[in-house]
């Protein structure tokens, strides 16, 4: 009969562990409160089911333990009971799915006013690109990448010149402004993940993926690569700083634009071509 106790301990122990666990998510720093809320809702529904099934089972094991003078009940089917349970389960599933899909709909619908930043992953570090004054990210190609042009920008794209290039693991972003991250990988899969923002999405070489969020708390946040990308995966870290406008501007001013990078490499001929194209627009 110890096993009845065991079942009870496992069920109730799980509940107690959940209540006292100091391991819990960090305070959220983005608008994705809906994800947390859906998790909490899921916890309530699934937790209730877990406890109910567990306790009922413990009761059965205790109450209907073997007795050689007794016989089990013979009841092959009970369609009423089976259908009731089916319908109740279906209702529970709908209660979970509906809010989940609403949050997902928000997640995949980027709001109109969002500004864009490109995140580039490569083994094993991060780079970032801001659109610059014109607010548009210039086009890129893997073919263009070399020491002078680590992002592979198309030099003849008029939107390229003013792009701000950040060849470092740390990124600054603005508080309270919806931000769309355009995600690009140069070699293998990576995933730009900051636990406090909750959001993540793989970066896939050959295509550009994205997600959006609005940071709601200033501060410093650690970036973890969340998609296995080879031997250095565990060391692919960095920081995101959520700034007020003033600090953000200061940081942007310190960075070089593509034009400045080209100039410092003595590629003024390329700059001229690009500028001509820009004037054609």
């Amino acid at each position: 009969m110890f096993v009845v106790l065991l079942v009870l301990i496992v069920i109730l122990g799980s509940v107690v562990f959940h209540m006292v666990s100091p391991w819990w998510w960090s305070e959220i720093a983005s608008n994705w409160v809906g994800m947390d809320d859906t998790i909490i809702l899921t916890f309530w529904i699934t937790g209730a089911v877990f406890v109910a099934i567990g306790l009922f089972m413990a009761y059965c094991i205790w109450k209907f333990r073997y007795d050689k003078d007794k016989k089990a009940e013979y009841e092959p089917e009970n369609s009423k009971l089976e259908w009731t349970l089916t319908i109740l389960t279906t209702i529970g599933v709908i209660a979970l799915l509906a809010p989940g899909l609403i949050v997902w709909n928000n997640f995949v619908t980027v709001p109109k006013g969002a500004y864009e930043i490109e995140v580039v992953g490569q083994q094993w570090g991060w780079m970032y690109r801001l659109p610059g004054k014109d607010g548009v990210l210039g086009t890129t190609s893997i073919k263009n990448i070399d020491d002078d042009n680590p992002f592979g920008l198309n030099t003849d794209d008029p939107y390229s010149l003013d792009d701000v290039l950040v060849d470092a693991d740390d990124l600054h972003i603005l508080i309270d402004r919806p931000l769309k991250l355009n995600l690009r990988a140069l070699d293998v899969l990576h995933d730009f993940y900051v636990p406090q923002f909750r959001a993540k999405m793989d970066m896939v070489p050959g295509t550009i993926t994205y997600y959006w969020f609005t940071p709601i708390k200033t501060g410093e946040y650690e970036i973890l690569c969340a998609e296995y990308c080879g031997t250095g995966h565990y060391a692919m870290l960095g920081y995101v700083y959520v700034d007020e406008q003033k600090e953000y501007d200061e940081w942007v001013d310190e960075q070089m634009t593509f034009e400045e990078v080209l100039a410092s490499n003595g590629k003024s001929d390329l700059i001229k071509i690009a500028l001509n194209k820009k004037n054609d627009l």
Partner: protein, 596 residues
């Protein structure tokens, strides 16, 4: 069976459908080689499958120890990141494919299907024998990758390109990944031979009176899983071949233009996400290939040891079939944050949560079988109880991950690791352990030692729950998986060192208990208590053989004829609390059985 046979048997009680084809002569082995090595008897093949799977499974188990040591006590066992990733990869692949799939389908399938459907053997014994040896070859190829320069692949068991076949990954630019893909391809070939056998045997070789709706759920589970595997493995097979071509011949199925460590590779235009679709089109059904046999077997264990018919048999059969069907339209729930078109999320979240309904029904029916039963707390029953708790836990966390928006923060964290170990690692293993205790008396004629078994049960259940339950909470904090150095991230609200050490100790103890189990098997097969015929008083045919353990040909001169379903336990009016499937109604005239 004649077309009207079912009606005959039901209505006229005693009448027996005529034989459709004359019984065929079996192949009788004459030498040691054909009897024990290239044997065509499904029972021996099943045991060969089982032993091979367990042998390579032990490599997987020891790998998990080494990983856990690195996570909790880094430096204690010297290893570098490359080796760690090789351990993770080989552990995952071995456990899923070479241990669980081979054990459930090759092992249990071969041993139990002919016995349970009342056949003398599989329909194609020779192909069946070849199937095992091809599987054996696949295992050898897999094991050989440990000994090539660069070692085995460290690409993760998901083998995602471009990483899997490039130089930033252990074994990616060497033989490691090649051998893995070749081994998988060989495995699929071997499995297909066996799989066709299992399916055709269930469909064509059932004894007279054994209608589909009288099959034990074990057979339904293995049968449906085999059908799934026959559809799912080809996707893995082609994906493996395409990746090998990308790797060896420079094609670009999965390889876009990339620049790695400053060097431009020659590929262009391929799609890494295409591979993921192919992989998970195999990979998700694979979960059920492991789960459905476990569902079926555990239903039978619960029913026998609770002395009660399985509750809602027909619903259980339909649930297995529906889950099997649905499992082909949910694969992309593994790819919510993989960069596919985000609109797919709506479709796959919906299909995924729909699967929860038939799955929940199965759980209810297991528990309702206990309700008003007469429960014997034998070892198979204990493991079944542990299975239900573990499976309910893992199934419920699946509702988190399947609900696309909730998956966003949790995917690629330890929450996922905890979830899939609960639901497709521990839960099926608990069923395997329970069924070894259950069928050992059939296979060897002796019981396993009960005292050792009890210790094994307590340590295994409490241990595995202690490993994986707390792990979910690491996932909530955002602890990412596949990290060689598990460090105190700044987002973590509390130190993870202590809990990781606790988990590692639990893993070492749980693993060690499995060696106790193996010891028990070895000793008891020689010195265990004699079991005699049908020691659990079960209804199904595998206990109705001429000899115990069953010999070549399984049954007596005449094959048994089946008059009822496999669950006539505690029928009112009957003298005994069970009526075997081959008992004619006239022999139990007072019994008021409802189900046929």
């Amino acid at each position: 069976m004649a077309a009207d046979s079912y009606e005959d048997v039901v209505k006229n009680k005693e009448s027996i459908p005529a034989l459709e084809v004359a019984p065929q002569d079996l192949y009788h082995a004459k030498s040691f080689w054909t009897k024990y090595i290239f044997c065509q008897d499904a029972k021996v093949i099943g045991i060969q499958y089982g032993l091979t799977a367990v042998a390579i499974g032990l490599v997987g188990l020891v790998s998990s120890w080494l990983m856990r040591m690195q996570i909790a006590f880094p430096g204690f066992i010297p290893m570098d990141a490359a080796q760690y990733y090789q351990l993770v990869t080989m552990h995952g692949m071995i456990m899923v494919v070479y241990l669980l799939t081979a054990l459930f389908l090759g092992g249990f399938g071969n041993y139990l299907i002919p016995l349970m459907v009342g056949a003398r053997d599989m329909v194609f014994p020779y192909v069946n024998m070849v199937s095992f040896w091809v599987f054996f070859l696949a295992v050898i190829i897999l094991a050989s990758s440990y000994f090539v320069p660069g070692g085995p692949t460290g690409a993760g068991w998901t083998l995602y390109p471009p990483q899997a076949i490039t130089s930033g990954t252990p074994g990616g630019d060497g033989l490691g990944i090649v051998l893995m893909l070749v081994s998988l391809a060989v495995f699929v070939i071997g499995f297909t031979m066996g799989g066709l056998n299992y399916v055709i045997t269930v469909l064509q070789a059932r004894t007279r009176g054994m209608t589909l709706m009288r099959l034990p759920l074990t057979v339904w589970g293995i049968f449906t899983a085999t059908v799934l595997a026959l559809f799912a493995f080809p996707a893995l097979f082609v994906a493996g071949i395409m990746m090998t071509l990308d790797n060896m011949l420079g094609t670009s199925f999965f390889m876009p233009a990339i620049i790695q460590f400053g060097e431009k590779l020659t590929h262009e235009g391929g799609s890494p996400i295409l591979f993921q679709h192919l992989f998970w089109f195999f990979g998700h059904p694979e979960v059920y290939i492991v789960a459905l046999p476990a569902f079926g077997i555990v239903s039978d264990l619960i029913s026998v040891h609770a002395r009660k018919n399985i509750f809602g048999y027909r619903m259980m059969v339909w649930a297995i079939v529906i889950i099997g069907g649905l499992s082909f339209v949910v694969w992309a729930h593994h790819m919510y944050v993989a960069g596919m078109n985000p609109w797919f999320g709506f479709f796959f979240a919906t299909t995924t949560l729909i699967i929860a309904v038939p799955t929940a029904i199965k759980v209810y029916n297991w528990v309702l079988t206990l309700w008003r039963g007469n429960i014997k707390l034998t070892l198979p029953m204990l493991f079944s109880i542990a299975f239900i708790i573990t499976f309910v836990n893992g199934g419920l966390t699946g509702l988190f991950l399947g609900n696309v928006a909730v998956d966003v923060p949790l995917s690629d964290t330890y929450f996922v690791v905890a979830h899939f170990h609960m639901v497709m690692g521990i839960a099926p293993v608990l069923v395997i352990l329970g069924s070894v205790y259950h069928w050992f008396p059939l296979i060897t004629g002796r019981f396993l030692n009960e005292r050792l078994g009890k210790i094994h049960f307590w340590v295994t259940f409490i241990g595995s729950y202690s490993i994986y339950f707390p792990m979910h909470y690491l996932g909530f904090m955002g602890v990412t998986r596949r990290y060689f150095e598990v460090f105190e991230g700044e987002a973590f609200t509390y130190s993870i060192t202590g809990i990781n050490q606790f988990i590692t100790v639990a893993a070492l103890v749980t693993g060690a208990a499995q060696f106790l189990f193996i010891y028990n098997i070895i000793v008891s097969s020689k010195f265990g208590k004699k079991a005699g015929k049908n020691p659990w008083k079960a209804c199904s045919l595998e206990w109705r053989t001429k000899d115990v353990p069953p010999t070549h040909g399984n049954f007596d001169k005449e094959l048994p004829v089946v008059y009822r379903w496999a669950y006539d336990y505690s029928v009112p009016g009957a003298d005994e609390d069970y009526i075997t499937q081959d008992t004619p109604p006239s022999a139990v005239a007072n019994a008021r059985a409802e189900q046929t």
